[in-house]
Amino acid sequence: MTLDKKIIGIAEEMGACHCGFADISPIYSKWPDSFDECSHLPAALTTGISIGVLEDVDMLMNLPHTDNDYRTKHYAEKIDLALKICGNIAALVNESGFTAHLLSHPPIKKATGLYKGIAVLAGLGWVGKNRLFVSPANGCHVALGAVLTDAPLPVFNGRQMENRCGNCTRCMDICPVHAYQTEFFGEANGLDGFRTDLCSVVRGVINPTGWGVCGLCVKACPIGKGRGGTPFVKQQIENDFVSECAAAGDFNNDGVTDITVGPYWYEGPDFIVRHEIFAAEKFDRHTYSKTTQPCFAHDFNGDGFADVFCIERNPGPGGTYVFQGWEKDADGCSGWRGVIYKNPAQKESKWIRHVVLDNIANEAPVWGDINKDGRPELIYSSPEHYGYAAYDPANPYGAWTFFPVSENMHFYLASGAGYGDITGNGTNDLIGPSGWWENPGGEKYPWNFHPQKFSENAAQMYVFDIDGDGLNDILTVWHCHGYGLVWHKQTRDKDGKINWQKHEIFPADPFEKTTAENLSSMPRVSQLHSLEIADINGDGINDIIVGKRFWAHGEFGDPEPEVPAEIYWLEIIRERDGVRFIPHLVDGDSGAGTQITAVDLNNDGKINIFTSNKKGVFIHR
C-alpha cells in the first residue's frame, strides 16, 4: 500500500472528516514568517497534510456561558483528536524514511492561517467571510490539524475550491461586537479586516480565562446549517467503474430491497453479497460503460423476482464504449437498445437477455406510468419522435410498442425527459428541454406541443408542485454538462393560459462569468447529469437530490472535471410568500452517474441515496 493510502487509512480510522495533501510552496513564499516554528528543520517541507475533525455543533452551541471551559470541554477535545491523528501520521511518515513536522496547538502567530491555508491548497474548502475554514460538507465546524513533510505525496493539483460565500454576509451581520470591519475574499492566511480584539471581548465575557466563542458567526453560516456535517454515512461497494446507472428492486424475492447497477445486483440490506446479471467489465474512466444510461427494476412477469431493464449500446472499435455518434450500427440500431434481463428466479439458469426496444436516441430516459395502466413505460425519444414505449403484459419480453407523442422532429436528439400532470386534468403530459406536450386523452397522437425553454441540456425532469400553490411546476438541471439547477413556476393568466417563470436554484453561469452582482451563495457544481426527488426530511414535501456526474466526458470533456464530485440534497421550504432551497452536501467525493436512486433501502423510514459512476458504486445511508 502506498504511503498516501496508509495516511488516509489512519485518518479515516481515527475519525477524521477530511484528509488532503497540498503543495504549500505558495505559503512559504507569501507568508514566510508563518514558518518560524519550522526554522530549525533541516529542509523545506513543501508538502502539507491537512486533517479535519468534525466538531459537535450541538455541543459547541450549547456550552455554558458563565463557567464553561470551551477549550477543555469541546474544542480542545477535537483539536486533541486532530493532533493525535497528525501525530500518528507523522510517525508513519518518519518510519517511511521521510521528515515530518507536526504543527503545534495552540498555534504560533499566524499559524491559524497556516492550518487553513494547507486545507485550502489541498482543495478541501475555502476561507469564508467569517475567516474560518469552510468545507462544503461540514461548513465551519471543522477542527484542523496539519503535518508538514518532504514525503512524495500526491498533492492536490486541481483548481482550488471557489469561495462560495457569494453575497452572503450573515456571519458578519450577526456579530454583536462588530468584529468584522470589512468583507473578506482574501488569502487563507489572513485575518484582514477582522477585529480579534473585539471578538476576544466576547471570549473574555464567556470565559474569563480568555477562551470561548459566542458561536454566532458559526451558526449564522448557511453552509452546514442545522447539521454540523453530513448526516449521511457513505458505503462504497465498488471501487471500479462498472456502470453509471442505479436502480432498486427485490431480485431474490425475500421482501428486502436490493440494488442493481446493470451488470451486478447486490443483496440488501447490507449490499455486500454481489451477483452477476451479465458479463461485467471494469471500464476505463476515459471511456464509457455498457450501461451509461439509466436502468430500471420491474417484475415484468409477476413471479415476485424483479427483472432489470437496461439501456445498452454496442461497443465500438476495440470493444470500448467511446462515443460513436448517432450513425446506425451493424444491427441497424441508431442509439441505444432497451433490454430486459429476465430474472432466473433463483433457478440455475442465467439471466436471459431480451431486446425489446431499438433506437433510443436521447439521454436520461425516464421510467413511469404515463398512461396510468398500472405498468411502467419508458419515456424517451426515437430518432424521429419523442414519446413513450409500453410493453404487452401478455408478452412483456417481446418487442414493445412505441407511441409517438411529438410530430416527426427528424432526429430529435436531446438529453432529458419527464412527465406529469401539467394541466391538472388528471392525465400525464410529457416534458422535454424545449417544451411540453399536452395529453389530449385517449389514443390520439401527436399531442399538442407548447414550446418553452426549460433547459439547455437536461437530465431527468420532474413535474410536481414545488411552491405549494396547487399548480405543478417543473424541476430540471439547466445544462447537464455545464452548470445550473432551475425550477419553472407554473402560473395561469386570467384566461387560464399556462405561463412559466424560471427560477435559478444553483447558478447556471460558470464561475468565470460571475460578477459582483450575480455572485451566488449556492453551490456552483458542474455536470449535474442526474436528478431525483424524494422526501429526505420527512416533512411531506419532496426534496431534491442532484449530483455531479464525475468525468461525464472524461478527463477534459466538461467544466471542472477535477473538482470534488459532490452530491447534494436540497431541502424545499415552502413559505407564505415563496419557496426557498437549503443545500445539504451528502458527500464530497463520489458524485453521481446518469441516475440517482433515492429510496428507503433498509426500511428504517429514512431515504438512502444510491449512485454508480466512474469512481465506483456508493450508498449514502
Partner: protein, 283 residues
Amino acid sequence: MLRLTGSVNTTLAHPKCVAVDSDGNIFAGCAGYNGGLEKFTHGSNRAYESEWCHAIGKVMGVALTDAGHVFCTVKSDRHEVRVYKKCGGFLYSWGSTGAAEGQFSTPTGIASDGKGYIYVAEGSSWPAVQHNDTWVVGGNRLQKFDSDGFFIWQVSGFNVPIGVAADKKCRVYLSDTYNCCVRIFNENGELIKSFGEYGSSPGKFNCPQGIAVDRRGNIYVADVLNNRVQKFNGDGLLLDVFGNEKEFWLPCGIAVDESNRVFVADTMNQRIKIYEQAGDAAQ
C-alpha cells in the same frame, strides 16, 4: 398560544431590530455590514410593502415615541442616536463617540417609555473603540435621556447588553446578552428584578437580544441561539415558548403592538414574522 399570521421579507440584509406603531407600520433596522433602516406599511391589498429604506449605517436599535418620531441607534462614522419622522424625513441626531455620559461606544438597543424618555444600551467595546486617532473605552451600560438627548442617568456592569424596552410605567427592561439574563429597572435606574440564566431549557437563555413588553406587562425575549422567543410575566414567570430552528434562524429583534401582535425579526432568514395571540384580541 401564538399563531403565525404573516411574514414580511425585508430589503435589509439581516434585520436585527424591529418596532411597530399603532397603525401597524413596521420599522426594521439592520446592524450588518450593509446596514439601514426600513419602514413597511400596509399596501392596497393589506400586504406589507416597503415604504422607504435609508442606508444610514449599522442600525442597532429602533424605537417609536408617542410623539410619532422614530429613534434609532446608529454606528457609522460616529455612534449616535438619530431621529426621523415616520415618513422618513430626518429630524435631528444627538450623541457622539466616547465613554463619557451622553456619549456612546457601540450603542445597541433603544427604547422609549410612557413619558417620552429614551433609554440606550451599549454593547461592550473593550479594549477600545478608535475614534479620531484616540481610543475610547466604554460600553456595557444603560443610559437614560430625554427626547432631546440630555443625559439623565446611567447604569453599568453588564456583559454586552443588546435589547432594551420600556413600558408606560417607565420600567425599563434590559437583555444582558452575555450574562444570559433579563434585568428590570425602575425609572430611576434602580434594579427591581433580574431573571434568567444560561441554558436551552424553557426559561433559560442563550444569547438573548431583542426584548419587548406588551400593554399587560408581559415580557418577550428573542432567545437568539436557542432560535426561539420566550414570553414571561412581569415577575419573570415563564408563560410561553415558541419557535425552533425550523421557524427561526437567529431571531434578534422583537416588538409588540397595541393589539398584542408579536413581530419577530427573523434575522438570518431576512424577514419579520408576525404572530397573533389566541384569546388576546378582546383583552
